[in-house]
């Protein structure tokens, strides 16, 4: 399962030389990207209630098999981190007022989910069926 790297907003984000980063607009189609050599794609949440980046992340991770870092930026709140992790994000830069301690806890509420996702493609019924 993917883990989500949580980045505090005041952390100095060092971009090593040679790192190829794409910032993808919220309404852009990820399927048109040339991903060769790209190491990180940043997906922006203009508002936390705008869910388009969840589908962008899913498509990058599962459809385009992107192996690099998918990073959430913008209006990133602790209560959506779980959805980000499950949709294929691998890092998230928290909004300035968000608590890192709360953030960690939000990722641990559930022992499992019904449907498959970008991190865990098989749905719950796949394992349930095997047990039955």
């Amino acid at each position: 399962m993917n883990t989500l790297e949580l980045i505090s907003s005041d952390a100095t984000i060092q971009t090593p030389a040679g790192l190829q980063v794409i910032e993808l607009a919220n309404d852009a189609d990820p399927r048109t990207l040339a991903l060769d050599g790209i190491t990180r794609i940043e997906l922006n949440f203009p508002k936390f209630t705008d869910g388009r980046a969840f589908s962008q992340a899913y498509l990058l991770r599962r459809r385009l098999d992107f192996k690099g870092d998918i990073r959430a930026t913008g209006d990133v709140l602790v209560d959506q981190l779980l959805q980000m992790q499950r949709s294929g994000f691998s890092s998230a830069v928290l909004r300035a007022d968000q608590s890192l301690a709360h953030a960690q806890r939000q990722l641990t509420h559930f022992a499992g989910f019904y449907q498959g996702d970008a991190a865990q493609p098989q749905p719950q019924f796949a394992s349930q069926g095997a047990a039955a």
Binding site: T49, D50, F110, F125
Partner: protein, 600 residues
């Protein structure tokens, strides 16, 4: 009925714990109201005019008696506002002339859920814990996500059923629950599923509507409709697939919702539903969905193709219960009782797949209560009836009543007596006073006008059962605003509250259909002229029905008569009873610019 597994039970408890953490952070001031709002909405907590409303999810309308009793407890112990809240509400409503605001009750919604109107938000996490003890929750009953899935209240028991939709509905419920990618869609997303010849689930009016069908080879699949909806721009859904193999439904839904999530409009609340995308993009929308579906199958590995074993596992929950055979409790009916009982049999009792059983609707459309309201005691009593007569199960119907699905034919007289003692045996199911009504301006912050006083006035006017029988089936639907929670578009007579210059006005429409056999192909009703004043609406309803009585042919229903005659005579009859909106014989155009015209 579906029985929760350990996984399901643990999941709902984890959800309740997650919600408690969110609520506590909000109450401590660590989680801002605006940021808490979508979180509480997706747990069913929606703040109304005076207090929060809780919408409890009732998947495809099925409830067990033990669940009904917990809903009764919530009504009794929690649906009680603080004194200051209630005083403010009563005073505000008194200014409108309707200070009476009942508390301590549950309400059956058109989407088969159960709502409460007065629970203080501080107690909301306690209520979620209590619900979780009987496998209930409010997950995705509000907010811009995939909502609770609705179906035919006669699912699994209707004689005209082709395939029982409940196992498929349950599998879709699980798939949609906390789907990580689809928690923040442009707008709400509603799915309905029907498995009978007749459409009793208003399928074509949904964001996704599904009919279970068999193809020529006898295989089971779905006819898939997308893009229906009510609101400001009523639309009938388009058919995307005539036959989709049943095991691909989750993959196909994933394609539809992903395309909607990516391309649905987010700049205008009124254009954000999928119906607008379907209409605007036409074939391009269809092509995009099909391409996405193809990629899910061919590239992503079709992870959500449903194995036969999973369908079998879930279907096993929906075998008919063992109903007591035995014989009837002897019941003495007087001659007067016998006549009343006969009416009830004709109107409130329906045939069943099992010839020894019947489906019985308890009428929650009666004087003194808002349509679909049930007090705590009535909820408890309904649970007792379910245990005594219906294998412990009830259904919440789209028409805001309760249905007992497993009643032995020989128990009908005893059930009738018990239901009559509770005041829920009025023989008006399907008749005029069995109306659909939203909570309206008495409770809802969105409403432009009140619905409940109108419903009350019409119920009072039409108390005579002889008259109601003579009028025959009439769908009267009342919404307090364009959001259409009272489904006015599908009413044979639709009433829509509008607001102008701070006063309440009502548009009347005629000839709408939900898609049932009675009403014909799904179609929105047509507005019959300028809005009416509140004081005129009951007279208008009566005038429309009088006009029908004048012109009807023998055996012709109201809706058939409206279709045959067209709107003109009805319009004349309605205009003739205007008084507030008439000026020297000339009709005042108080609200010619409809809300539709203003926004689309």
């Amino acid at each position: 009925m579906y029985q929760y597994t350990d996984f399901d039970r643990q999941f709902v408890r984890q959800r309740a714990a997650q919600y408690r953490d969110q609520l506590e952070r909000n109450l401590r001031g660590e989680l801002k109201d605006d940021e808490f709002r979508p979180l509480r909405l997706q747990n069913g907590w929606y703040v109304q005019r005076y207090a929060p409303m809780l919408r409890v999810a009732v998947p495809y309308g099925e409830l067990a008696s033990r669940q009904l009793r917990v809903l009764a407890k919530i009504a009794r112990d929690f649906d009680q506002p603080r004194a200051a809240v209630y005083q403010h509400a009563s005073e505000s409503q008194a200014e409108l002339g309707t200070p009476h605001l009942p508390v301590g009750y549950g309400h059956f919604s058109t989407r088969q859920n159960v709502q409460f109107n007065w629970i203080p938000l501080e107690k909301s996490a306690d209520v979620m814990d209590l619900l979780a003890t009987v496998d209930l929750h409010g997950i995705q009953t509000s907010g811009n996500c995939i909502r609770n899935i609705t179906s035919d209240a006669l699912a699994g028991i209707a004689p005209d059923e082709v395939i029982d939709p409940r196992p498929y509905a349950e599998i879709m419920r699980q798939w949609s629950t906390l789907h990580p990618e689809f928690a923040f869609l442009p707008r709400k997303f509603k799915i309905a599923i029907n498995g009978a010849l007749e459409d009793r689930a208003a399928v074509a009016w949904h964001d996704v509507g599904l009919h279970l069908v068999r193809n020529a080879a006898g295989e089971v699949g779905f006819k898939v409709l997308v893009g229906g909806g009510m609101g400001r721009t009523p639309m009938i859904a388009s058919t995307l697939r005539e036959f989709l193999p049943w095991n691909q439904i989750l993959n196909y839904l994933e394609a539809v919702v992903r395309v909607y999530n990516r391309f649905g409009r987010r700049d205008n609340l009124y254009k954000a539903r999928i119906k607008i995308l379907v209409k605007a993009e036409g074939q391009r929308f269809v092509d995009e969905v099909e391409a996405e579906f193809d990629s899910i199958l061919k590239h992503d590995g079709a992870a959500h193709a449903i194995p036969q074993a999973e369908l079998d596992r879930v279907s096993a929950h929906f075998l008919p219960p063992v109903t007591a055979s035995g014989s009837a409790t002897p019941v003495d009916l007087s001659a007067m009782d016998a006549a009343e009982y006969k009416r009830w049999l004709a109107q409130n009792v329906r045939a069943h797949k099992n010839p020894a059983l019947r489906a019985v609707t308890l009428s929650f459309k009666r004087l003194g209560h808002a349509p679909g309201d049930a007090t705590a005691d009535q909820l408890d009593a309904a649970a007792d009836l379910a245990d005594r007569f219906s294998a412990g199960e009830v259904r919440v119907t789209h028409e805001q009543n309760l249905l007992l699905p497993w009643v032995a034919e020989h128990d009908l007289p005893a059930l009738w007596q018990a239901a009559r003692a509770l005041g829920v045996a009025k023989a008006n199911i399907g008749l005029l006073t069995d109306m659909i009504t939203c909570p309206g301006g008495d409770l809802c912050a969105l409403a432009n006008a009140r619905s409940l006083p109108l419903a009350q006035a019409i119920t009072e006017r039409f108390q005579d059962l002889d008259e109601l029988f003579d009028l025959g089936p009439v769908d009267l639907h009342i919404s307090g605003c364009m959001n259409s929670c009272g489904h006015h578009h599908t009413g044979h007579i639709g009433v829509l509250g509008v607001d102008k210059d701070g006063r309440e006005w009502y548009q009347i429409s005629l000839g709408g259909s939900d898609g049932s056999n009675l009403s014909g192909a799904a179609v929105p009703g047509k507005v019959i002229g300028p809005s009416f004043a509140a004081s005129e609406v009951t007279d208008v309803v009566e005038a429309l029905l009088d006009n029908y009585r004048v012109y009807r042919k023998s055996g012709e229903t109201f809706i058939d008569c409206v279709r045959r005659l067209g709107p003109e005579t009805f319009k004349l009859a309605a205009n003739a009873v205007r008084h507030e909106t008439r000026d020297g014989g000339r009709v005042l155009h108080v609200h010619l610019a409809t809300a539709d015209a203003a926004t689309d």
